[in-house]
């Protein structure tokens, strides 16, 4: 198929950005975009507008029970259930819902679907955040939920040219608790997952072993 001209691509770009283009036209535009950065930027801008337009749609309160159905669906799909202590802590407030939902997902749904948790049983805030730094320079951010099941989420600016970063989760004695590989996209990378047991520090390096950034987990 002959390459499109830029003016033809610009004419079709709005329909591509709105997801309306199909068949040969779509294939031709996509082939052109592989070779033309200017048209790629144009389509990216229009696609971004489309995404923002969707956020203008006014919210609509879903029918009663929607939240329960979603959480039940996620549980059936394999969303892990929390520890027993979590379910036990919220079980009283959710007693009515337990009757409806216990068959499906047990204690988790009991807590998860409670519309109101008594103040005496509320769980204290437990999300922490610290900057990832290289020297004094912030290069990203790391979030930790320390309570069980603990998890970590981080994002980091990657050095120019880096395609992958190595993230080491280090124990207090400097030994490695776990390692994760991060793929760099558009100059940055992110990772989220369970917090490897014993982690006190996180250290990121590039493919050459060069230090990219690090952080000590809050609370340690």
């Amino acid at each position: 198929m002959a390459d499109l001209r830029c003016d033809t691509c610009r004419e079709l770009a709005p329909e591509l950005a709105l997801g309306l283009l199909g068949g040969d036209e779509r294939a031709a535009v996509l082939a052109h975009l592989q070779r033309c950065e200017r048209c790629r930027d144009d389509v990216a801008a229009l696609t971004g507008l489309h995404e923002r337009m969707r956020t203008l749609v006014p919210p609509v309160e879903p029918p009663a029970g929607f939240e329960t159905c979603v959480l039940r669906r996620l549980a059936h799909a394999g969303l892990p259930q929390p520890s027993r202590s979590w379910a036990r802590g919220l079980a009283v407030a959710a007693a009515a819902i337990v009757v409806v939902c216990a068959t499906f997902v047990g204690g988790w749904m009991a807590g998860a679907t409670s519309p109101a948790t008594p103040a005496s049983q509320s769980v204290r805030p437990e999300l922490l955040a610290v900057p990832l730094t290289s020297g004094d320079r912030p290069v990203g951010r790391l979030f930790v939920k320390p309570a069980t099941p603990s998890w970590i989420y981080l994002y980091v600016d990657a050095p120019a040219g880096a395609a992958r970063l190595k993230c080491e989760f280090l124990r207090h004695d400097g030994s490695s608790a776990a390692t994760a590989m991060l793929t760099v996209r558009s100059g940055d990378a992110h990772w989220g997952g369970p917090n490897p047991a014993g982690t006190t520090d996180v250290r990121l390096t590039d493919e050459t072993g060069g230090f990219v950034g690090g952080a000590r987990l809050p609370g340690d």
Binding site: T113, W151, Y153
Partner: protein, 193 residues
């Protein structure tokens, strides 16, 4: 070392999504509660039928959970990402059904909702308020074509049928509308410096 602590209503969207991905129960509940109105709103706007919209919205949350690792916080907001997921599922649901005639007036509330009004302008951030204003500044026929295509997921041929115009005219209106919005938004951004 400074550390941020917050209740679930203070937790950033991307952190809630990370919690959902990690199987954290509290984050999962908070995530659904925070976004269920937006997700269901998009689903209803596209499919029209409440029961189908409910199924679409549930699918959207499941897909968000399954693909949470693919979300890149530097490339857009969680709200926009989730909106895209919902919209795509809703459009698929509509296209899987036989076409049904559309009441021409059924679109008016949606057009009104996404264009500028004092109430909405006050509720939205500056950027979204400007986007509303840009859509509101379009000729009404273009604004309708854009809303049908961008938010209802209609093809140019379907817009043509709904509006009683030739397909070529529908395409022209859609293209001109999105280009017009982009030009207005770019001007606004340039003015802001």
């Amino acid at each position: 070392m400074a550390a941020w602590r917050g209740a679930s209503e203070d937790v950033p969207d991307d952190l809630l999504l990370a919690g959902l991905a990690a199987g954290d129960a509290r984050s999962s509940v908070a995530f659904v509660r925070r976004f269920q109105g937006a997700v269901f709103g998009i689903a209803v706007a596209v499919v029209g039928d409440g029961r189908i919209a409910e199924d679409v919205a549930q699918q959207a949350f499941e897909r968000a959970w399954r693909h949470a690792a693919l979300f890149d916080p530097r490339r857009g907001s969680v709200r926009a990402w989730l909106g895209t997921i919902t919209h795509n599922l809703a459009v698929d649901a509509v296209r899987a059904r036989p076409p049904t005639p559309m009441d021409p007036h059924s679109l008016d509330p949606l057009v009104a909702a996404v264009t500028s009004t004092p109430e909405h302008a006050a509720m939205a951030g500056e950027s979204l308020a400007q986007l509303r204003a840009a859509i509101g500044a379009l000729p009404p026929s273009q604004a309708r074509a854009l809303v049908l295509a961008a938010l209802r997921g209609m093809t140019a041929a379907q817009v043509a049928t709904a509006e009683g115009i030739p397909v070529g005219t529908a395409k022209s209106r859609i293209r001109a509308a999105l280009r017009g919005v982009r030009a207005t938004v770019a001007e606004q951004e340039a003015d802001r410096g």
